[in-house]
Symmetry: C2
């Protein structure tokens, strides 16, 4: 791909940027971001993924890239090359930056410093030509989200929730703050909604009834923009094994793409 010459044009070749967000932790935001990026790549797009969850980067774990390290871009300018996943997605994560074990990334990152570090993941990476740049935001709308919005024009967000009322409260609040930043919602993902028993095939909803339609209405998203991802042993196994992107994408992530 063509090389940028410095931070001011690192993002010049990026056509569109999509954030994956949620004001509630543990709903599956990193999972949706990594699987969505690989579904977009499987459909032929040139895709990047920024793991902006600087306090707890998880892209290296789900992509089986824990040992990867960042290398300098051949074009210089202080830029680094993104790490390429086996599924063909270019990834930037604080997890790839070699820090001494006792001061793991995110240990000391609070407030505005975390926002500046996240912005650097965008500007200091030599992305080249990309159709999509998918951004996995940390939970909440804090300093990192503000730093990201200052670094790049985020066209739209995919908001992830679970069926629980505990998630509903946080996610609806997050929507207000996100709209205040001028980022429209393109899709709503209700994750971990239904579990299918591997023994007898019975379905049950361990985490409650759901509020995806309410969330979509609040975000101005049409019903076709709501995607439901079941509790899937295949998704969990791919995450645990660091094998996201190795097999064909789950159908729901292809339709989300």
């Amino acid at each position: 791909f063509g090389h940028a010459v410095g931070p001011e044009d690192a993002l010049a070749g990026v056509r569109s940027c999509v954030a994956v967000s949620s004001c509630k932790g543990g709903v599956g935001k990193s999972t949706v971001a990594a699987h969505l990026a690989h579904a977009l790549a499987a459909r032929g797009g040139r895709v990047g993924l920024v793991d902006a969850d600087v306090m707890g980067p998880s892209a290296p774990t789900v992509l089986g890239l824990e040992d990867a390290r960042v290398e300098a871009s051949p074009a210089g300018g202080g830029l680094a090359l993104p790490v390429e996943s086996r599924g063909g997605v270019r990834v930037a994560s604080l997890g790839f930056v070699n820090v001494a074990p006792s001061t793991k990334p995110g240990a000391a990152l609070r407030g505005p410093l975390a926002g500046r570090v996240a912005a650097q993941l965008f500007r200091m990476t030599d992305w080249g030509e990309l159709d999509y740049l998918v951004v996995d935001l940390p939970p909440g709308v804090g300093d990192v989200t503000l730093g990201v919005c200052a670094a790049v024009a985020v066209e739209a967000a995919v908001v992830v929730t679970t069926p629980s009322r505990l998630a509903r409260v946080d996610v609806l609040k997050g929507l207000e703050l996100q709209e205040g930043l001028g980022v429209p919602t393109a899709a709503v993902v209700e994750n971990l909604a239904v579990a299918v028993c591997p023994g007898c095939g019975a379905e049950n909803r361990p985490f409650g009834g759901g509020h995806a339609a309410e969330l979509a209405a609040a975000a101005g998203v049409a019903p076709e923009g709501v995607f439901r991802v079941p509790i899937s042993p295949a998704v969990a196994a791919a995450n645990e094994a660091g094998a996201v992107g190795d097999a064909a994408p789950e159908p729901v992530f292809l339709s989300l793409a």
Copy 2:
């Protein structure tokens, strides 16, 4: 109960303080804190609960106290009375503080301000005599955790995780930071480990194999200090209905208490 006269002795009657923490969001920290507090109360203790997750307070939701509002303590001094749950636990949460709907609690709280607000939940509440004060910390070790440790002597922490490798990375890091604050770990809770099919009784582990023994070893906790909480429809239903503390506690929370 006996009344404090001002912020400097609001905590005078509190015998011991236990934090419930995790560096990974969505593992069930608020669930464990609320159920543990009510198990301690069911055994006859005088118990308080501080919902220090100022960005996303959930105690009012799981306790069915969304409409409760804080009242001033009859003894004055600017202190507020805690809200009493039906299960007999005294609760302080930002969710009880009446703010205009569009500026929900936590919307503007970032960095050191969040730490100061959390500290106020301790000092501005007239706790009276308590055997235990259970604190639900926000995910991570940030400004709020520092604010809490500055406001009260936290004797020990209960660290919550799930079987997933994604949680393992964050929770082990959190342990290092917590030990740096001088807070020992009293117990490890592995939550959402096993799902039992309501149809045929088959067990499966949707979120991976587990690392509770490794976490306990890293935290210096004996094997008896590890508690496993299954994916429990009763726990989820109590959370969703705001009915935590109305029925007898689940056995695992009694043994944790």
